[in-house]
């Protein structure tokens, strides 16, 4: 049997956040999770670190919490937050009144916004629907929920906290009306582990009521299933939201090489029995496609669902229910913490631990907002977004070769042959086979006075001729299509002379 001060049931963002907070305030604790960390709604969400914009009109309090937490997490969790920025796009027909309310509410709360013309928005995210009326920039970010949980647990581990994953709580031990411990089964061995503590925190998300019942308590929740899809491409470098009241499929979030789009919102009874309806995926793709038309053609690699534990209310549409959170004192040594969202997990943990400190009559301030997450020094951060950020001057989009790469080879080799640059940088080796970038590489060589314009024109002509020798054998399907485009650009738009 293990003895500790606090038992946390649930290894989602909230539970992991509570473990970290307790660790930093020196309170012994033990976390029990029936699966792995982030296995529930935490790992089945967008991975959107809200700016608050999504809720600013319907729930300004929640929006303010989101924005404050957004600032904190960007600061303390550098390696699990990708600072993408976000856009709220207004499509033709979307309410202008909502736009006005949105901007006014953001200003009242202090969420920074910038109204962008359609042209400017298309520059930032070229895949956007060119029909958009305008876009409003907000500080949305992308966040890795798995990494976030692991880093929170790292602090707990460093301070001697205990944790057991793949252990399911089967019993809450009570004595004289008070909860004094739990029994949990090890999924691998079937062995039963018994842990005693003074306080039990039920942070089990959609399973909160099921856990509470083990102690004879009730936590009335509305379970709301949200489904999402993942594309095989990163179609946008920014978070894209629809500028309208929350609805299905109005958020797209880039995450490394992919994009996530969602969500839906459907009330469900049992968090262990959820399935995705085919129509849900269709609705998400169609709605996301209105903001980024490529969605309709892009490969969808997976769909998945999470279950939001929302505070029950009389409102029938689960979207109308507050995304705020609540701590319930069951008056028997057990607390349940419900509601909230990934973005506000730290604040939820802080309030929960404040309550625990009170109960223990201990005084130590929360430090989770100031201290960077432990263990980040070992992580690489976001390689893809870093690479993209460094590549402001990409001249070969297929192979991600920058102007600086080309200039470096020119300086190192003083070459007069564009082929030498290609062999040393992979410029022109991708799908368009140099159709776009050779013109640019030759232009850069002119800028450095390596070639005269006449020479570079001849080099371009020779290159196109040489390239065609190989391509000609493979001209059908999309390759033929691309070839026709390249021909159209050189012979049409650039009016290149056929013969010299």
């Amino acid at each position: 049997m293990i003895k500790t001060d606090v038992i946390i049931i649930g290894g989602g963002a909230t539970g992991c956040g509570i473990a970290r907070d307790l660790a930093l305030r020196g309170v012994p604790h033990c976390l029990i999770e029936k699966g792995d960390y982030a296995a529930g709604a935490t790992g089945a969400c967008h991975g959107l670190l809200h700016s608050g914009g999504r809720y600013v009109v319907s729930d300004p309090v929640a929006a303010k919490e989101c924005y404050d937490e957004n600032l904190i997490l960007r600061r303390i969790g550098e390696k699990c937050v990708e600072k993408t920025g976000g856009l709220f796009v207004r499509l033709p027909g979307d309410s202008k009144r909502y736009r006005e309310k949105f901007l006014r509410s953001c200003e009242e709360i202090g969420i920074p916004t910038e109204v962008l013309s359609a042209t400017r928005a298309l520059e930032l995210v070229p895949n956007l629907n060119p029909e958009i009326e305008e876009a409003i920039r907000v500080p949305d970010c992308s966040i890795d929920p798995f990494r976030l949980c692991m880093l929170n647990m790292r602090t707990s581990e460093l301070k001697g906290g205990l944790s057991f994953t793949r252990h399911r709580v089967i019993k809450i031990i009570q004595s004289r009306g008070r909860c004094i411990g739990v029994q949990a089964t090890d999924a691998a061995t079937g062995e039963i582990l018994e842990i005693h503590a003074n306080i039990i925190v039920n942070a089990s998300g959609a399973w909160t009521n099921l856990v509470a019942k083990l102690a004879g308590c009730e936590v009335p929740l509305t379970l709301s299933k949200g489904s999402l899809v993942i594309t095989n491409h990163r179609l946008t470098d920014m978070v894209i939201n629809r500028l309208r009241p929350s609805s299905d499929g109005d958020i797209i979030v880039p995450n490394e090489a992919v994009c996530l789009a969602g969500t839906t919102s459907q009330a469900v009874e049992d968090p262990d029995k959820i399935r995705i309806e085919p129509s849900e995926a269709d609705v998400i793709i169609t709605e996301a496609g209105k903001m980024i038309p490529h969605f309709n053609q892009t490969r969808i690699i997976r769909a998945f669902s999470g279950v939001r534990p929302l505070l029950q209310s009389s409102k029938t549409d689960s979207r109308e229910i507050s995304r705020g959170f609540q701590i319930i004192d069951h008056q028997n040594g057990m607390y349940s913490i419900v509601g909230g969202k990934l973005t506000t997990f730290r604040l939820m943990a802080e309030k929960m631990v404040d309550t625990i400190m009170n109960a223990f009559n201990l005084k130590r301030e929360c430090e989770t907002a100031e201290k960077p997450l432990d263990g980040q020094e070992e992580l690489s951060g976001y390689p893809l977004s870093k690479r993209l950020a460094d590549m402001k001057n990409i001249v070969c989009e297929c192979e991600l070769v920058s102007r600086a790469d080309v200039e470096r080879i020119i300086q190192q080799t003083s070459t007069r042959h564009v082929g030498d640059i290609q062999h040393r940088t992979r410029l022109g080796m991708g799908p368009c086979q140099g159709g776009f970038c050779t013109f640019r590489a030759l232009g850069i060589m002119q800028d450095h006075s390596i070639l005269t314009p006449d020479e570079s024109m001849q080099a371009l002509r020779d290159f196109l001729q040489r390239r065609f020798r190989g391509i000609r054998q493979a001209l059908w399907g999309d390759q033929l299509r691309e070839e026709q485009l390249v021909e159209y650009i050189y012979l049409g738009i650039l009016a290149m002379e056929r013969k010299k």
Partner: protein
């Protein structure tokens, strides 16, 4: 399945589809236009070429080989189509220059003079010979514009470079739409003390308010300003598309954006509906007539397989002059790649030949024997055949 009824469904949002759609809508018909996305017009220079094989576009068009689709459009219809286009653009504050009598030149980013018929406002002052005395303004970091290509062909040209803080055409265009940014740019230009007769810039002078941007630069610098078309993304192409699209909508047309056609309902010699897929359920767009303006390969109207070439919406017969080995000549710069002749053959009423459909009308780049690059007949062909096919369609619906 949801079913929507129209008089005409146009497939394709390029110059041909939007021209045909607008003309039919002006006749009072209920017109829907479906498109999978942006047309190739967005990649274009925004110029309207009719026939570049000589100094006089209409005359040169009449010299084209007998089978060329421009011969299906009467002189009157071509004149009407171009006249209407000029009028629409003028109403929208985009004055095009040129006429069917004389071809004009537009300076390309390679320094060559491209022959065209009508040029958008930004290119009205484009040099007509390489003797002209011009100053090129470029933007440092702009990856698709290298002024030295132009300098090598113009004895009296020089260039200056402005740091716009952006490396794409779209990026600079969006900045120049902002007043304070434009003002700073003009102040910088004034300090250059430009003595040349004209000022040329890559085509980045705003998106919506190009005319105003040009007017402001011209009045302060006291000399004409012209834009030089760039590689895609092309601002002039996008402006042209936006104007035609808005015009079509103003005439009452509906656009179904991002709606690929996935099926067709037929009965006897008639097409009754096209199916699209959206919101997870099939949608049926029923109509009495259909205008096919899906373009060639780049536009997505035609697809080449290893064996043959097919038309993607109605599976119409496609004119394919040879087996795959003959589609392209060995010389890349050959003007006679046979792939340029591939397309759908139509009769004098723009109905597809060798098929029994009575209510399909075909126009634009998908037409066989066009050889658009060889003949320099891109948007002009679309404008003329789109207009004429709409006339034929309206005649049929009477």
């Amino acid at each position: 399945m949801s079913v929507v009824e129209y008089d005409i469904v146009v497939i394709g949002a390029g110059v041909a589809g939007l021209t045909a759609g607008a003309r039919l809508a002006e006749h009072g018909y209920r017109v829907a236009l479906v498109t999978t996305g942006e047309p190739t017009a967005c990649l274009s220079t925004g110029c309207i070429d009719l026939c570049a094989n000589g100094a006089r576009p209409l005359y040169a068009a009449r010299e084209l080989p007998r089978e060329h689709p421009l011969h299906l459009v009467s002189d009157t219809d071509i004149a009407e189509a171009f006249g209407r286009f000029l009028e629409v653009m003028r109403e929208r504050g985009r004055v095009y220059t040129g006429s069917l009598e004389h071809n004009r030149c537009v300076l390309s980013a390679l320094g060559t003079l491209k022959t065209t018929c009508l040029t958008p406002a930004g290119m009205a002052a484009s040099p007509q010979s390489d003797n002209e005395v011009i100053r090129i303004i470029t933007f440092s970091g702009l990856k698709d514009f290298y002024p030295k290509y132009i300098l090598s062909r113009f004895a009296h040209a020089s260039f200056s470079s402005y740091d716009a803080g952006a490396s794409t055409t779209m990026g600079i265009a969006s900045r120049l739409e902002r007043d304070e940014y434009l003002e700073a740019f003009i102040v910088w230009l004034e300090k250059l003390d430009i003595r040349e007769n004209k000022i040329g810039l890559p085509a980045v002078l705003g998106m919506k308010n190009t005319a105003e941007v040009i007017r402001r630069i011209e009045s302060r610098l006291e000399r004409p300003v012209f834009e030089i078309p760039t590689l895609p993304p092309s601002m002039p192409g996008r402006r042209l598309f936006n104007d035609l699209k808005d015009h079509f909508r103003n005439k009452g047309g509906d656009i179904f954006w991002s709606w690929p056609v996935v099926g067709v309902e037929k009965a006897g010699g008639l097409i009754e509906a096209v199916f699209t897929r959206t919101e997870g359920k099939p949608n049926s767009l029923n109509a009495r007539a259909f205008v096919l303006a899906t373009g060639s390969f780049v536009g997505g109207g035609l697809t080449a397989t290893r064996q043959t070439i097919t038309e993607n919406v109605f599976d119409l017969p496609v004119h394919v002059p040879s087996g795959r080995e003959g589609w392209f000549d060995e010389d890349y710069f050959s003007p006679d790649h046979r792939i340029g002749k591939v397309g759908v053959c139509v009769d004098s009423s723009f109905r597809p030949e060798h098929s029994h459909w009575e209510n399909i009308f075909v126009c634009g780049g998908i037409l066989a024997h066009a050889q658009i690059l060889k003949n320099g007949c891109g948007h002009g062909l679309s404008l003329a055949t789109g207009y004429a096919a709409a006339g034929s369609c309206a005649e049929y619906l009477k």
